[in-house]
């Protein structure tokens, strides 16, 4: 029993570590690809590891007060917590112990910590940046929550692990609810704060917004946070709509299945990330109220269409996955 727990904990730690590495690597790949789109060579893909190392090895660090420390602490701790609750490559981690709604609310922990820290810097740019980030959150959550609702209604579960199970046995979410998947992907762009929705950190207006006063190890840990967030957000989409990348049933194939599923999952989150990056490279940014209007208009309509589909299928047609 205790050994089981220890093995489980060790595996979770391994997965979390890998997730961080993947996040940093993805950031590097994104930089490289953006550079290629811009006719440049771009940095090596391991550049972000160097950046992170440099930031952590800075000789001096400043803070404004003790609340400032909330940002790196909650940012990193929170993002790891979210990752622990997200199934990665079919390995359900802790997600058997907490469902999607818990996950939705844990998502707020690192963001809130970050917002507290940047608010404590006393810089107006940070205040405006957080205001924009929160408004953006209100914007994209509208379609995203409706999408999650349609999934939960259709699959009749709020638990991610059960959702994966049902997707494996029945159909991937993207096949069953393609309209919702579309809305979710649009919402994902806002969730990742990539263009056209990167107004919270717009450097030309508010000098990188909430990040304005962070430097050294603070910035380093926040970089880890954003690396983790990339995995969280892409993986969330993959878990919700692409079956978490499960192609082999673990109960049948055992360890091999975990290995293969992990690779498939990795490929899928890479694809999701790439879509975001390509869109990011060729769009200017919306103003915040335009982003708000945009999200509460078309993606919401699409999401509601998806909800109607899920509702009709599950209530009137009696489809039970």
């Amino acid at each position: 029993m205790v050994t089981d727990w220890l093995i489980h904990a060790g595996l979770v730690a391994l997965y979390l570590f890998l997730a961080m590495v993947i996040g940093l690597l993805f950031m590097g790949i994104a930089r490289k690809i953006t550079a290629r789109i811009q006719n440049r060579v771009g940095p090596p893909i391991y550049q972000n590891f160097l950046d992170l190392g440099k930031l952590l090895a800075k000789k001096t660090n400043i803070k404004h007060n003790w609340i400032f420390d909330f940002a790196p602490l909650f940012g990193l701790g929170g993002v790891l917590l979210i990752l622990a609750y997200l199934p990665m490559g079919g390995y359900i981690m802790l997600s058997g112990q907490g469902d999607l709604i818990l996950l939705l609310y844990i998502l707020a922990i690192p963001a809130l910590g970050f917002a507290l820290g940047s608010g404590a810097s006393g810089n107006p740019n940070a205040g405006v940046g957080v205001m924009r980030a929160l408004t953006l959150m209100l914007s994209y959550e509208m379609p995203f929550l409706i999408v999650i609702l349609s999934l939960m209604i259709f699959y009749n579960t709020a638990s991610l692990s059960v959702l994966l199970q049902k997707q494996m046995n029945y159909l991937w979410g993207i096949a069953a609810l393609p309209i919702s998947a579309l809305a979710a992907d649009i919402a994902l762009q806002g969730m990742m704060a990539e263009k056209p929705f990167d107004i919270p950190i717009a450097p030309h207006e508010i000098a990188s917004g909430p990040l304005v006063e962070f430097g050294g190890k603070y910035l380093g840990l926040l970089m880890l946070y954003s690396a983790g967030s990339i995995v969280v957000e892409t993986s969330l989409f993959v878990d919700l709509f692409l079956g978490g990348g499960i192609v082999l049933n673990p109960t049948v194939y055992g360890t091999l299945a975990y290995f293969v599923n992990y690779l498939v999952w990795l490929a899928l989150i890479f694809v999701v990330w790439m879509i975001a990056i390509f869109v990011n490279a060729v769009f200017p940014r919306f103003r915040i109220e335009q982003a708000f209007k945009f999200y509460w208009k078309w993606p919401t309509v699409i999401a509601i269409a998806g909800l109607v589909q899920a509702y009709v299928m599950s209530v009137f047609l009696g489809v039970v996955p």
């Binding site: 952590l56 001096t60 660090n61 400043i62 803070k63 404004h64 007060n65 003790w66 609340i67 420390d69 790196p72 602490l73 909650f74 990193l76 701790g77 917590l81 112990q97 907490g98 469902d99 999607l100 709604i101 818990l102 609310y105 707020a108 922990i109 809130l112 917002a115 507290l116 608010g119 404590a120 810097s121 006393g122 810089n123 205040g127 957080v130 205001m131 929160l134 408004t135 209100l138 959550e141 509208m142 929550l145 609702l149 939960m152 209604i153 709020a158 638990s159 059960v162 000098a207 304005v212 006063e213 190890k217 603070y218 840990l221 915040i288 109220e289 708000f292 209007k293 509702y311 599950s314």
Partner: protein
Amino acid sequence: MDALTLFGIFVLLPLVGALVSYFGKKYAPIIAVIFTGISGIFLYLWYGNFGSYTIDIGVKLNLTFDITTWFFMLMMNTVIFSSLLFSVSSKLKRAGGFATLMLLGFAGANGVLLARDFLSLYLFWELMSWSIYLLVLRTSGEYARRYLLFGVLSAYLLIMGIGIIYYYTGSFLYADALSGAIPHAIWPWILTFLILGFGIKMAIVPFHVWAPYAYSSEQPFVAFLSGGLSKLGAFGIFMSMYSIAGISLLQSFGTFRGVSLMGYPFALLGAATAFIGTILAIFQDDIRKLLAYSSIGQLGYVMIGLGLGTPLAIGGAMFHAFNHAFFKSLLFLGAGAVIYRTGKYKISEMGGLGYRMPFTFMFVLFAIFALAGIPLTSGFISKWMLYEAAISRKFVIVAPLMLIASVGAYLYSYRILYGVFLGQLKDEDKNVKEAPGPMLAAMFILMVPLVIFSIVPGWILGWINKILVENGIGKLNYTTFSYSSAIGGANMAVFWIAFILLLIFAMLMFMAKKARVVDQYDNYLAGEAPPSVALHAAHNYYKPLRDTWAPLLKHSIDRAYEKFSKFFAGGFYEIKRIYTGNPQDYAAYLGIAFLAFLLVGWWLLW
């Protein structure tokens, strides 16, 4: 224990306390704290010592001390205890009167909770209502009038409901209502009157207009009003729907996916309240008004749970009412502490106080965690229960509104945090001190349960489960650390262990090196450093959002009422001339409302 002891401890004792503390002068709050403490001790001792006592004094009256009463009394007692403790050091004017009125309200509230017959219910309800009125009156006559308008409306509605029941049954006892004397077709009217009557106390849309004004009075009182007394509305609705009418009667009006058609409209009303309250709260700059609208929104959640009526939903509503009692009074007390130290009400005029008042900040932060539903506090679990209740029954209107309203809660919570506690510390606030000890103690008392019940939700879910079982509603699925519904569940022990381990890990990464603390003006100003600079971006904080909502916000219900009353004030100009008195515009409105309700009642009964 008999009826008299029960009545004595929970109603007479506060009344005596009210009398004593009136002469206590500046020690009045301390005396009041002692009296509430005594009844609190009895409350603690008498857990499990439940009983129901019917007294016949010409009419049959009933006092019952059961788990439902106990549960609500627990909130009421803790909240008033800490509110009064807070007021010990807040140097109120005419503290004697304040303590007296608070205790009167407390006695009334306890009476309402104990009463199981309509006559005493109504008497205690009025006692409570009028002490609120007088307490609001301490701050502003205008606010009090607005409260009175709705307080009286609420009383009318209750009278209507009670009157109809009494007309048919001839008894005031709750238990007699279901005897079959009342025709089936009349029940919806009774329930509507009672629910709306109680709902006004909960500030349900569209009857929320009084709340932002009444909640702008003295903070210790508002903490009790919002945290404690507004729960009487929830209690009343719970009693009328699930105790007086009962679940089988509700179900007999037809069901919509297992939810009574009698309850579902109220759930929708609750969802609308949650949404509207949240959206309005986002745009407030006055911290009291912001908390008031937030209160409206949060009580909308309770209404949703009560309307849906599944065990999970009602459990969620009870739990949320409990959480709301604690975090909202904590927020009002935190705001009170800040206002006490700075004398400012506007969020945009404060700023940076978290650096000067770290404990207040920490307490408020926990309250905000609970408000926003962050799983670090029990605020999450109640929201979780409500969501799962709605989603598992596939309610596609209620659920999204609830979910998006809770995202909106992040927005206004951050407005409080940033505007008051973070950002630039103003020069005039440089010397602000931490709040005095009693205030901190009061806030601490309120914070503890929020954290405890997040780690061990089983304890409180046990009480709630008992309430549900006792009223024949159903039961909850829970263990000491975890809880589950038909579609999901969560284990808080796992969550807390994971959270603490990962936080320690982050701390290890973080603590490797010390950071230098710099002045707040050593800041990124694009290379500039003017002698004085305003850095606090809190005024009009959500302006882009406000601009997008502007066309809708124009049609505020508040203004609709005002127009309505102005219209009548104009119409009744003649009366003004005839009578020597000076009837206010609200009076005209009251008269019309009374007439209307009389007519409706008359039409119903005959």
